[in-house]
Each structure stands twice: as structure tokens, then as C-alpha cells.
Assembly symmetry: C2
Homo-oligomer: 371 residues x 2
Amino acid sequence: MNTVRDIAHFDQPLALDSGAELARVDVAYETYGELNAAADNAVLVLHGLTGTQHAMGLSSDTGRPGWWDSAIGPGKAIDTERYYVVSPNTLGSYGGSTSAASADPKTNRPYGSQFPIVTIGDSVESQARLTDALGISRYHAILGGCFGGFQAMEWMARHPDRVGSSVVISATPRTSAHNTALWSVLRAAIRSDPNWNGGDYYGSASPDAGLGLAAMFGALFWMSREVFESKFGLRRIDSDEPEYGFEPEYAVEEFLEGVSRNAAGRIDANALLYLTRAIDYFDMSRGHTDLAAAFNRYTAPSLLISYTGDWRYPAEDMEEIADALRENGTACRHDTLNSPAGHGGFLYDTERLSPLLAAFLNDPENVAQAS
Amino acid sequence: MNTVRDIAHFDQPLALDSGAELARVDVAYETYGELNAAADNAVLVLHGLTGTQHAMGLSSDTGRPGWWDSAIGPGKAIDTERYYVVSPNTLGSYGGSTSAASADPKTNRPYGSQFPIVTIGDSVESQARLTDALGISRYHAILGGCFGGFQAMEWMARHPDRVGSSVVISATPRTSAHNTALWSVLRAAIRSDPNWNGGDYYGSASPDAGLGLAAMFGALFWMSREVFESKFGLRRIDSDEPEYGFEPEYAVEEFLEGVSRNAAGRIDANALLYLTRAIDYFDMSRGHTDLAAAFNRYTAPSLLISYTGDWRYPAEDMEEIADALRENGTACRHDTLNSPAGHGGFLYDTERLSPLLAAFLNDPENVAQAS
């Protein structure tokens, strides 16, 4: 199976939703498999907040598996022997696409604090350019969970003619006060680090402590109470009795220290600021009379997946999307799966998801209403 | 109605669970109402993590109402015309009881990083001294929610002969990995502030930024998703359209900035470290064969209250306490109330709670199993 890791460069300015523009745009991406002669077997996978274009296989840099390695590959749900999988890195992220860490053409120095806000719709426009460059006029399917699901919906609304079918997982039609609160605190954690320096830290020490704090904080939201209990419970590191001090003494404390350490060097702090702000601005209904109107040019089939344990984007949010799509008369199936991983179910618990994905990808027209 | 605000000083050393001791102990407290001649109308109320002894009325210092002003007072559920209400400040807290901010008798300078870990049981021992000093041999009732509920349970286990009846609200028989994770991150936020200085900041600048971050972080846990949505939704501060920047733009962002600001000067950062560590060590079963054994000297009636929206200490946790008490043959009623405030229901939503409290206080023997 052929894997390509590359960065596509586009010299035409990209007009942003904010009114600002990016003079140049880079889109880092990976592809898995081969585009067929008819160019009709391409599948777009869109990563989550802390993902990158590295979706399958082991990274040549880090040795880590891709974020959806359980679902993409030869013979897997998204079968690379059958499909040409395109996995772009979102604008503002830290995988090599244009971001605050990129050189500002005006100064030839990293943008840092001068990087403009890029919306999820802006990212989709950059991906449309990549799609052109790869010679794909229409995707067989686009798929994304959470932040990737937001991107998928922007594709459905902005480029409905280029989407043959869609899978939206663990998402919501618009952000919420609770989410914005979550992101605000995460951003405050990053900004609390003196090394953050207003966003202009490239070339000097990175705000690793602030990033580590944000990552620990995030872990409490990505993981459900039940997962904390089953993974760690009240297990101690190396003592049977309380040690009556502040040093890590419980396995869960050791885990969180690891979360903090691992974020450093892997995630660019500014990327988290920009991507979470993009989520704050995410609202599929904005500029439309209602949600159905946002999708009214979209005619292809959709599969929506929610998780019972997902309190961030509960099944009701997904059902609102399903209702909007059905109101437009398009075929839409919404399944709610049960997973102890909750919101992270699509990443960590793909056993039940994979057959649904495979069945849908192999015949999206065969969308039946979930019973 | 008579209100007393005072600090009781005890010169006898207090042996702590850790094996360390406090050479002297102060217990700050407030009392409301009058102890009757038989000294049998005293009710002990025990505050939560960020509460103090200021439980009712307006503070003479801050003008703020007490944390349970909705439930305590003349004619209220805990009727100060009938009961003598004793409200002590927990050891390690910031209301004037002995804490990291107190003078270490060895140095006459604030303990700071030298303050020992004090457990919830240790706090109860300090309260037992206060109880002696006030001339109370046995409380008519003890009441506490969350951290106050933990204290109430330690009273039931350690001094069963001094407890005439108990109300335990929104609590759990032992902490959990998820809670320890929550407290770990909150502590990391405080420690991230250079002003924290290892805990030795008394007399110099306080770690207000770290404390503010911890408070914002806490707000996300104290308040349910539903409360965030109903209070703020996606309301903007003063714009109709996105401003595409990082300045606060949503009402929820403004709220969190207020949470951060308000924590500074009101809460001592070290107190949060010590009190949350006390919760990490909280386990009513420790040293016993099971939970029932911990309560096996307790014979008085109990009322347990949980809230449907409380994912921190769900009704199942409370039912485990109820089961243990019933196993010992004591009268125990467990009611689960519904409140949009979730875990904070007992503080912010006392309309349904108050009649239950009043009925129980006025006749604890009349405890029926909740239907």
C-alpha cells in the first residue's frame, strides 16, 4: 500500500472568514492507497483537535500509530486496498499546514501573535485546494469525528457537489457555552506560562508547563469518570498506606504527570489556542435561517454516529443534525453506540464502529433509518 | 437572634493521622441562636471545600451571605429560633482555623510549606475540642454537604455517642480516581504560578493567577453543562457577529474572568492544596473490613440526600453509605432530588431540600425509607 506524506503549497492568497487573508497556504497531508483511474475512490478523513494528518501506520518521526489506525488500512473499515484515503492537516494546527508557527511572508519570521483567526470553514477551503491538486473532483466519502466532524459539516455545506457521502461522528451543529468555557480555561492555562510570551515564543523556550497544564486539564474532559475508575481506581504507585504528602502517590497522579510531559514538544501551544478559538466560532446555522438551510444544497447520504457516554456532544446534538438533513429529504442514518470511552469512542473503541463504517462506505446509498 | 463569631484556641497538641502533630490548634467558628439549658438543641453544620464558618447572615467583612443562608435562620429549615447552630472552620482552610497561613509556634512565622497534611478526621478532632469548649456533649444533629458530608461521616464514625442524628448530602464514602485527577490538576494550576514559591508566599505576592486558573477550572466542575447553557448560551458581550480575536467576546468568557478575579484575595491558595489533599486521603472504609464496620458504633438516624445531576458523587455512592448504615440496623432515609445545579444543588437550590431538612431535624426518629 502506497503512503504519501507531503505538503502542498498554494501561492494564491486565501480569503478568511474574518476578512483577513493568508498570503500563502500550505496544507500538509498524508494519503494511503491509490487513486483509481476514474478518480472516484477518494475518501477524506478529517482529524480531531489534537490529531494531525498522521491517521494510519506508524509515524516515521515518532513511531506512533496514526490517530485512526484502528479504522484505516488494508482490509480495515476504511479499506486502503479499495479507497484512496486523503488526510489533510487542519489550518492552524501543528502538522505542517499554515499556522502561527509558519513564516509570515511579510517578515519571514514566524507569525506568532500576528497569525489571524482561521475558522473551520477556512480550513475546508484550504482542503478544497488540496483536493484540486490531487485531481479529485468529488470524494466518495468524507469522514470526521468531533473537530473532524465539524470540518465534515463545513464540507457538506460549502462544497456539497464534491461530497459523495458523509460520516459525522461525535459532533454538534454548533458549539456551546460549556465548550467555550472548557476552551477558555485551557487557553488560560497556556497563557499562564511566562514562556508563552503573548504567542511570540518561536525561537525561544516553549510554554511547555502551560501546555502540560492544559493537556492535564483536557484529559479530565476527554476521559469519562468511568474510565478513570476502571483504569486507575485508588491504586497507589508504590505504597500500601497514605504517605501524607503532596508527592504523586496514586497511579492517576502518575498518569497525569505523563500527560503533561507528553504534550511538551508534541503539540504547539499556539495551535491549541487557534484551533479551540475556531471551535468557539463554529456554528453551522450562522448566516442561515436554520440548520436545514445550511445543508440545503447537500443531497448525498449521511451516517451520523453518537455515543451514549458523550456528555460533550450528546446524541441529542447529533439528532438535530439528522433532523436537518432529513428535513432536506436526504438519506440519513443516526446510530448511537455505547462506549466507556464516551466522546473518545470513535478513536479508542472502534470494534462496533468499524462494521458500520465499512457497510456505509461500501454502499452509502443503502442508508436505512437506525431502528 | 444571637450570632457569635470567634476563634477557640487550644494549647494541647493535636496528634494527626499522619503521625505528625500540631502544637496548638485554633478553630474559628460562628454560632447562631442560643444553646438551651439542657444543651440538647445544638446542630453542627460543616462547610464545603471553598466554604468557611460563615454559614448564615451577611459577613461583617465582605457583606456576602453565608454559604447556607438559604437554609439556616429564624423560621428557615435549620431554625435558629429552635436550634443552636455551630459552624466551625475546617483545619487547613482559610477562615482562621489553623492552616498553612498560621504562625508555626516553632518559628513564629507562617507554616507555609512546613504545614503538615491534615485529614478530614483530624478536622473532626479539632471540632470535638470546640464542641467541648461550647459545653455540648451531644449534637441534636450534624449536617454537611460534599466536603462537609465527609466531615459528618467522620463524626459518625469517630464520635458516634456525640451525634444525635446526621444529614449527609452529595457525598461519597471514599474519593475516586476521577476526583483525585480533578484535584491534581487544580493543584498543578496553583503551583504553576511562580508566586506560589513552593507554598512559602506569605508576606509577599500571592499566587493569584494560579488560584484564578484553579477557580476557573473548578467552575467547570461545579457547574453542569445544562447550567452553562441556560445561564450563558452563546450570548455575546457586546457584538452580534464574531470578532475573530482572542479577547473575551462571549458572556461565558466574561463570567470565567470574574471567577478568576474573585478567587484572588478570598481564598488562600495553600488552603486549596491542603483541603483537596485531605479529600484524596478520604476513605471511610480504611482500616475497617468494610464500610458498615466503619459506622458500627453509630446508632442514630440518618438522612442522606443525593442529586440526580451530580456526576461527581452520584446517587449510587450515597446508596452505598445508606446500605452500610442499614446493615448496622440504623434508621436511614436516602432521597435523590433533581436539580439543575447538580452537585451544587444543596447550596443553590434548597427549595426541595429545606422541607426534608426541617422534617428530619424536628423529628429524626421519624425516618422512613424513601419511596
